[in-house]
Amino acid sequence: MSVTRRGLLTMFGAGGAGAWGGPVDGLALAARGLEDESAALWQGGGRRGGAPAAAGDQPPAIKLSSNENPTGPGKAVLDAIVGQFGEAGRYPFNADPGEGKLVETIAALHRVKTNNVVLGAGSQEILKNAVWAFTNPSRHLVTASPTFENATNVARRMGHPVVEFNVDSQFRIDLEAMLTAVRGAGLVFVNNPNNPTATVHGGKTIADFVERVRRISPETVILIDEAYHEYVTDPAYETAMPIALSTPNVFVARTFSKAYGMAGMRIGYAVGSADTIKPLERLRMPFSISVFGVVAAIAALGDVKHLDAERARNTEVRAFTQKALEDLGCRCTASHTNFLFANVGRAASQFRSACAAQGILVGRDFPPFEGSHARISLGTMEEMQKATAVFRDVLRPANAAGGGIE
């Protein structure tokens, strides 16, 4: 599938593009591989803002559907890009700094060697290549449901078997259940925190899981996707980086698309032992990161203050939004991300359409919870103040009618 890391299909079609009253169901478009077209539709003829065009006098829609950072990458990054304008005509291998400098910067950040790092055009390229490298028709993928579906979709497209396990009662990835299927698996995908359920597992839980997988099936590769790492506030959480570096067949994926605010730049990376990283490096598309992406990522890693501020900003917005939803009777999972997974007490599609009619775009269906839960990405505080007012409006009639959120 094309589209976006983690949010995909959320864009709900032509809804914003002049048909506020009658949105096309984006999932249907998405299922046909037309996410871009749907995006272009709501983008409305060349608008360059993050928010879609509104019909007539409507204000721009607020996009809470793709788990993006609404504030973007920050001035240090944009300055770095402008400073690199003179290199736009040069191939990345001729530009200064080159891609190697980014690898060195990432390696230094994690105190590893450069052969422990592989870059990707978004972490999607990493996930795709991991499925390609480590699964095959007789070595299956083990994953969760719902979770970030990129790996699942790639495996299915390749005709490699997929075994999925529903999340547990607290919407956490059910690691115990997954263990029953890891024997002989090619790849185990663990999204921690998990998109779309927003929950996280603690460091010890992940370490135990890895150890048990290793005991049952030492050849199985474990991919721990930490796309939302920077947003976690659970004190029990720890990155799996040290495990990846000390354990064969384990690696961690990270992205610049979330807290670093660079979803549009398409840069991700993975860290693991050199032997685990090597097959990913081999499959990598050469120079998939632009000369602007290289300097942007280096600048982003250097701007620690911006990252800290983004984490604090998100935590505040998350607390505000969660309280507003829970005041409306909508229970949220324990979020450690830049989105909430909320029980809105009705079909996600119904909630989504009603919000869209008022200019708020929330996440797509996430089976098996599409009958009750919506994924709501967090915008800025100002955006969420507007959005929660809409949520109140949309949810109240049902509540008043006793329509029932438990």
């Binding site: 599938m1 094309s2 589209v3 976006t4 890391r5 949010g7 591989g33 871009d36 077209e37 995006a39 272009a40 983008q43 060349g46 360059r48 803002g49 993050g50 996009k63 993006e68 950072n69 504030t71 973007g72 990458p73 001035k75 944009l78 300055d79 890009i81 402008v82 400073g83 690199q84 304008f85 003179g86 290199e87 736009a88 005509g89 040069r90 191939y91 001729n94 200064d96 055009a121 999607q124 795709k128 790639v154 497209r157 605010g261 660079m262 979803a263 549009g264 730049m265 398409r266 081999r282 499959l283 598309m285 050469p286 120079f287 998939s288 632009s290 000369v291 602007f292 992406g293 942007a296």
Partner: protein
């Protein structure tokens, strides 16, 4: 380090008003750049002239860089969003090329198009066919996948040998047809190419032909035409294009494939919805702006390149050194000296020329074309290097 190139282009844009009104420009970036001018002038004599990667020495130009900066959005937040401009770029391209959006697939450079086509059209039993030498992305990728690669020699004029290529295509998965051909710079005319495609499909109906038109905009041949119309009708022909050459956007990573909807669908199926997840938002807006410049931009860039090419080819010819018939932004020239020796000699004097291209590395060198100013300085270096070694060029 701030290179001269960076300086010229950034200031060029700024002085013209593009940056000054923006919030970035307002923080005095141009001012600091101007302050560096004396240092840069001093460094200019020492700076390396890169003539090794067939890039456009002018870069994408102001219109495109302005578009990149506008893509930041008014608050600088837009790069934080997943890019949604793929549809717009596809629309712009389909209008420009007179095709339908479903005839197009976008790629992270044409690299992605070449890899995807190679992936879906070759198999362990269905070889990739190409000339030797040619652009190596497809062959390298096929080899990595363990798929057979059949290479045929060029003709005596360094053109693709269509007889040999057609013979080798029997039962092949895909023919990689790079026209003009890198690194040898030669071009096969449009009618000869159409005839070749028909011939391959007579003798090997299942074989796909990937026509790589990376240097299309630089061709000055009398019978010059794109194979896009053929590809639109024939699901076994795909045309690859790039923004890395005439459009000066090698650093941005943007290319596209054009073909029959069945071919595009097949490629997209393998490659994550036609590669859009790999395309960065700045490249998308740059591409839209680049195409928006219309034919005038391409014509001017072709004219500029042709003048530089003629100058450079003549310089070598005047010294008895023969070049192939170039229709690209580089030349392939017989210096009579080992390519490595010539390259090292030039590098020591600040001019970087192309790598070895077997089987011609004993005497032939690929030299990308810089600006006229750069080439005037480069030929002075060439003269020193060739003269110093006392080489009499091969006739």
């Amino acid at each position: 380090m701030l290179t001269r190139r960076k300086f010229v282009q950034t200031v060029g844009a700024g002085a013209a008003g593009a940056l000054t009104g923006s919030w970035i420009g307002a923080r005095g970036r141009e001012g600091s750049l101007w302050d560096l001018a004396p240092t840069l002038d001093a460094a200019q004599a020492m700076r390396v002239i890169p003539l090794s990667s067939n890039e456009n020495p002018l870069g994408p130009g102001k219109v495109v860089l302005d578009a990149v900066q506008r893509a930041f959005g008014p608050a600088g937040a837009t790069p934080g969003r997943y890019s949604s401009a793929t549809g717009e770029l596809r629309d712009v391209l389909s209008t420009y090329l007179n095709v339908r959006p479903e005839n197009l697939t976008l790629g992270c450079g044409s690299t992605q198009i070449l890899r995807t086509a190679t992936h879906v059209y070759t198999e362990r039993t269905k070889a990739l066919v190409g000339t030797i030498p040619t652009y190596e992305e497809s062959a390298g990728y096929a080899a990595m996948l363990g798929r057979p690669v059949r290479a045929v020699a060029l003709d005596r004029d360094f053109r693709m040998d269509l007889d040999k290529l057609a013979d080798a295509s029997r039962g092949a998965g895909m023919v990689f047809y790079c026209n003009p051909n890198n690194p040898v710079a030669t071009y096969v005319g449009a009618q000869a190419t159409r005839d070749f495609i028909a011939r391959v499909h007579r003798i090997s109906p299942e074989t796909t032909i990937l026509v790589d038109e990376a240097y299309f905009e630089y061709v000055t041949h009398a019978d010059h035409a794109t194979m896009i119309p053929v590809a639109l009708e024939d699901p076994r022909v795909v045309v690859a294009r790039t923004f890395s050459k005439a459009y000066g956007m090698a650093g941005l990573r943007l290319g596209y494939g054009v073909g029959h909807p069945d071919a595009i669908r097949r490629m997209s199926q393998w490659d994550s919805g036609s590669g859009t997840s790999s395309l960065n938002v700045l490249a998308l807006h740059a591409g839209i702006a680049a195409i928006g410049q219309g034919a005038a931009f391409v014509d001017a860039e072709r004219a500029r390149n042709t003048a530089v090419r003629n100058f450079t080819v003549k310089w070598f010819a005047d010294r008895g050194m023969k070049s192939t018939d170039s229709h690209t932004n580089f030349i392939f020239v017989n210096t009579g000296m080992l390519a490595k020796q010539f390259r090292d000699g030039c590098a020591a004097k600040g001019v970087r020329v192309g790598r070895d291209f077997p089987p011609f590395e004993h005497a032939w060198c690929r030299i990308s074309l810089g600006t006229m100013d750069e080439m005037k300085r480069a030929v002075a270096v060439f003269g020193e290097v060739l003269g110093k070694a006392g080489v009499i060029a091969a006739a």
